[in-house]
Every structure is written in C-alpha cells, then in structure tokens.
C-alpha cells in the first residue's frame, strides 16, 4: 500500500481548506498521514484525522510561525528520512509553494506543480496539469521517489471520513541557520471583505474597466450581492489592484455559484481560474471576445453604465 504525506497548511492555528481537500483525495491514493507545524498543530490533528489522516506528526516550535520555509523544510526532510512516503502532497498556495520548492531541491527530486487531479497508477502516480490557458490537460507520471505534487485549491471537494488521527510528536531540531527569513510583522489590510476563494459570487474586472478609479463600481456590486471582487492578471500587472485579487492560471482558482467577468477578454490565462464556476456572466464591449463563447449570459455593452444600474436593481430586488 502506498503511503501519502499531506503537508497541513496552518495559518494562525486554522487549517487551510486546501489541506482538507488534499486529505480527501489522498484517501484514494494510499495510507494517509499528515505533518502539522507551528502553533495550533496539536489541536489541528482532530480535523486532519476527521478527513482521513491516520497519523499526524506535530511540532509546535515557534520557528515554524516566525520564519519562512526553512524550518518547515528541515522538519519535513527529517520526517521523510524516517517514514519514506511515496507521495508528498502540497496545496499550490503561496505558503506551501515556499516549502515544497525548498524540499524538492533539498531531496534532489523534481516536482509536479499546478495539478488539478492525481491518481494512483502502476505503482506510481499520475497528475493532470492544465496548460495552454487551461484548454489542454497533460497527464504527467511522476518519475521521482518521493513524488512531490502541488495541487490547485478547489480541485477536489473536502469530505470527512470520520476518523481520528494518532498524534505523534515530530522531534526535529530547527537549526539556527534555518531561522533567517524572519516575519517581523503582519499587517491586515482587508479583514471585512468576503474571501475571494470562498465567495459564492465573484465579480472580476479586467482592462475593459478603463482604470483603477472604476473598480469601486465592482466593489459596490459585490457588496450588494455579498460577494468578492477579483481581477485579471493584466490589471494586476498594471498595478491597478493587488496580486491577492488575481484570478487565473497563476492567481487564484475560484468556483463560485456565479462569476461575473467585466471588461475581461477571456484570455486563457484567466479562464483556467474560473471556468468551473456554476454560472458565468460576461459584460464586454466586444461581442467577439473569447469570454462570450464560454459565458452562460454574455452582455455586449458599456460596463461603466451597466454596473451602477445593476447594483441599484440588485438592491431594489433585495429590499422589495
């Protein structure tokens, strides 16, 4: 039976949704265990166990919270030597990527990144990785041992298997040399807003919005619908909005009930991050924009006129 190690991503003691998705999938691939590092790791074992981890290796050293990547790499490399998992799964998220990259280089093995599916096959593992803007999917067999695969959030649905994990202390000395990239402070800028990845309605703006000064129109609509605002890579690169709002191949994957693409052409880079939304509405001046070919409803018109009228109509319907 193959063994699968899942890296549990903890943020302020809370387990990331993507970790629970990975554990759910890992149950199909072999015996599942997890590693949880930093404050709240021991308490996290409960939810990790409920999602299929048979054992959770924990270490609550503050170094895992306070320093980027290197302490975690030391811990997982040490765990690898003891347990020799066949497959190590990470979420394709900024924090997990840090660790996965260093670990792969430390162990001298390659990795497969940006996968949206993984299966056991012929004693090994095959990952499916979208590319060419998501229009094509490559099936990639992992050549190395251990296989290291990073999976896009929201590729799977998390579900409980109702188990309880054995908690084992992971003894690892975090070297002084590894305590280098120090997180001196954490600044929260947008605590009130609905999280993009979890929103059931996402309204995204692209170049067609004309400029950052028009993005409040999207925010007004998002507020009215209880949703979140996203953006295309083009406007993030132009500096109109921060990277955290980017939806697409190298941004976030979202799977809301409704995705409204405003002034977005629908370049492949973007669509791979939102094409599994239940309902897609596009508002664009150009009837031939690629996004019109994938939207359930495409509206050819002036976004700057439609948005405020739509926001008003939504509010009226909610209050009426």
């Amino acid at each position: 039976m193959a063994s699968v190690l899942v890296y549990a991503e903890l943020y302020g003691g809370k387990v990331a949704g993507t970790t629970l998705e990975l554990l759910t999938k890992a149950r199909d691939l072999g015996d599942v265990y997890a590693v949880a590092l930093g404050s709240g790791a021991k308490a996290a074992a409960a939810i990790l166990g409920k999602h299929g981890a048979k054992v959770v290796h924990v270490n609550e050293d503050a170094a895992f919270d306070d320093y980027i990547a290197e302490p975690a790499t030391d811990a997982i490399a040490s765990l690898y030597e003891q347990q020799k998992p066949d497959l190590i799964l990470f979420g394709f998220t900024p924090d997990s990527r840090e660790v996965a990259g260093r670990l792969a280089a430390r162990l001298g093995v390659g990795l497969i990144s940006n996968a949206n599916d993984i299966a056991a096959k012929d004693g090994g593992f095959v990952a499916r990785v979208p590319y060419f803007g998501g229009a094509k999917v490559a099936s990639m067999k992992a050549n190395a041992t251990p296989a290291i695969v990073l999976v896009r959030p929201k590729s799977f649905e998390a579900s409980e298997s109702g188990g309880a994990a054995e908690v084992k202390d992971l003894t690892v000395t975090v070297k002084a040399d590894s305590k280098r990239a120090h997180i001196a402070d954490r600044v929260v800028e947008a605590s009130e807003k609905v999280k993009l990845e979890d929103a059931r309605v996402v309204i995204s703006g692209g170049r067609g919005m004309g400029g950052p000064q028009n993005f409040p129109l999207l925010e007004d609509l998002a507020s009215a619908l209880g949703g979140a605002v996203g953006a295309s890579r083009a406007v993030v690169d132009a500096g109109w909005v921060p990277y955290s709002m980017q939806v697409g191949q190298t941004g976030k994957s979202v799977r809301p009930g409704v995705y409204i693409a405003v002034g977005i052409s629908g370049a492949m880079q973007h669509t791979v991050g939102m094409k599994t939304s239940k309902v897609i509405i596009a508002i664009n001046k150009d009837a031939e924009a690629p996004i019109m070919k994938m939207a359930d409803l495409g509206v050819v018109g002036d976004a700057l006129k439609i948005l405020p009228a739509l926001t008003a109509a939504v509010k009226a319907k909610k209050n009426g």
């Binding site: 980027i68 990547a69 990527r97 990259g101 260093r102 792969a104 280089a105 390659g110 990795l111 990144s113 940006n114 990952a127 590319y131 060419f132 998501g134 229009a135 094509k136 999917v137 490559a138 099936s139 990639m140 067999k141 050549n143 190395a144 990073l150 280098r180 120090h182 997180i183 954490r186 600044v187 800028e189 947008a190 605590s191 309605v201 993030v236 690169d237 921060p242 990277y243 191949q249 190298t250 009930g257 880079q269 309902v279 897609i280 009837a287 070919k293 994938m294 939207a295 359930d296 409803l297 495409g298 509206v299 050819v300 018109g301 002036d302 439609i306 739509l310 109509a313 939504v314 319907k317």
Partner: protein, 252 residues
Amino acid sequence: MKIVVTVKQVPDPNSTLSLEADNTISREKEVVLDPGDECGVEEGLQLKEAHGGEVVLVSMGPERAKDAIRKGLSMGADRAVLITDPALAGADALTTAKVLAAAIKQEQPDLVICATESYDGSTGMVPPMLAELLGFPQLTFAKKVEVDGSTIKVHRQTPDGYQIVEAATPALVSVTAAIAEPRYASLKGIMAARSKEIKQVALSDLGVEKGETAETIEGVTDAESRKAGEVIQDDGTAVDRIVQVLASAKVL
C-alpha cells in the same frame, strides 16, 4: 551591492499562443522578456541607484534569448550571463534551478531577484528551489523591498494584507508586478546595451548534471470546454436579464 536578476525569454503574452505538433507551446513566434522579469530588472536598477553596485542578468535559454537579455541591458543592467545548451531544451524547474544556481554562485551576489512566476512555465517553483540550492533565505511575493546595510526587508503580499519579512544578505527575493513600474529603455540605453557583455556558458562549463526530468508526459487531452450561452446587446434590458439569471442561480 551586487545584484543578480534572473530573466527569461517567453512567448509574448499579448500574442496568440499556439501549440506545436507535440503539444508543447510554440516558442517560434513572438518572444519577449518576461513582463515579470522586467519588474525584477527595474527593482534591481532602483536598488543599484540607491546603494551603488552592479546589476547582472542571468538567464537560461536558447541563443535567441539574447534579444530578451538586451532589453534588460537597455534598461540599465550592467552585463549578463546566458546559459545555453541544446541539452537543456525542455528542462524542468529543478534542472533550471540547478543551472541558474551554478552560474549565480560564480557571481557571489548579495541579492538575487526573481519574478514570482513566469508567464509560460508558471509552476512558480524556481525561486524557492534556487534559494535552497544557493543556500540563501527567501523573501517572496515582495511588493516592496528595502535595503539597510546588510539587511533586506520586504513587504510580502498575503491574502489579506502583507507581512514584513527581514533577512541578512545574501538573500533571494521574488517580486510581484506591484514592485515597480518598469522604465522604458532610452535611446542612449539601447545604444549602450550593444557593447555590454553577454557571456555565453554551456552546461559543461557549470559542472551540472541534467538528471531525470520530474515528469513523463503520458498524454494530452482537450479540457472540457463550456458551451456558449446567450449573447445579448444592451438595449436597456440587459440589467433585467442579468437580475433574472442571478435569481435563478439563487444568489439573489
């Protein structure tokens, strides 16, 4: 301070991508300096202007990548190193990181600047791998970088704000597009770039073994595509139609 900026030539994001017969993305048509790397070069130049030193571009690619490198030299970088070798075609992220690390070690920089991810590969995994192979701490997703003596301090973008991360040099920083608006190369800069050194290096010069690729591609299929729905012109009724769709999707 000595700053190395890693740069890559990629298919032009503004052109239409196409596939070769073997299902790999075509690199034969329009190629440019990766827009993310333009931001990295700009940040390197700004740090050099503030603190003195040298900006060296390091790239792995075909000989043609010299065009992309010249763009960075025109912006103001001092010189470049291009690792080019037919054996490196189709190299995976780890091989790329090994090759870059070997070349960068010869430079002994104080700071290495990378883009967070490239436009074409998009694994986003080379920066942490490179940091590990160089033995440097990594300060990633930086939207702002400050240098104070031998300390690097960055604002690291997070989902709900940012972290302030510090490390002593030498260090590796990966930057987002928010870091700096890339300057246009002046005519003077373009002329000066013609005589700046691009040192060409082969795999054998670096003592790097290519190794096994991380993955074997077993097949490529088309992804499921969505069918088009209705497309309407806004004649004043569009808002009502959208509200109907929102209501039937039960978000309203």
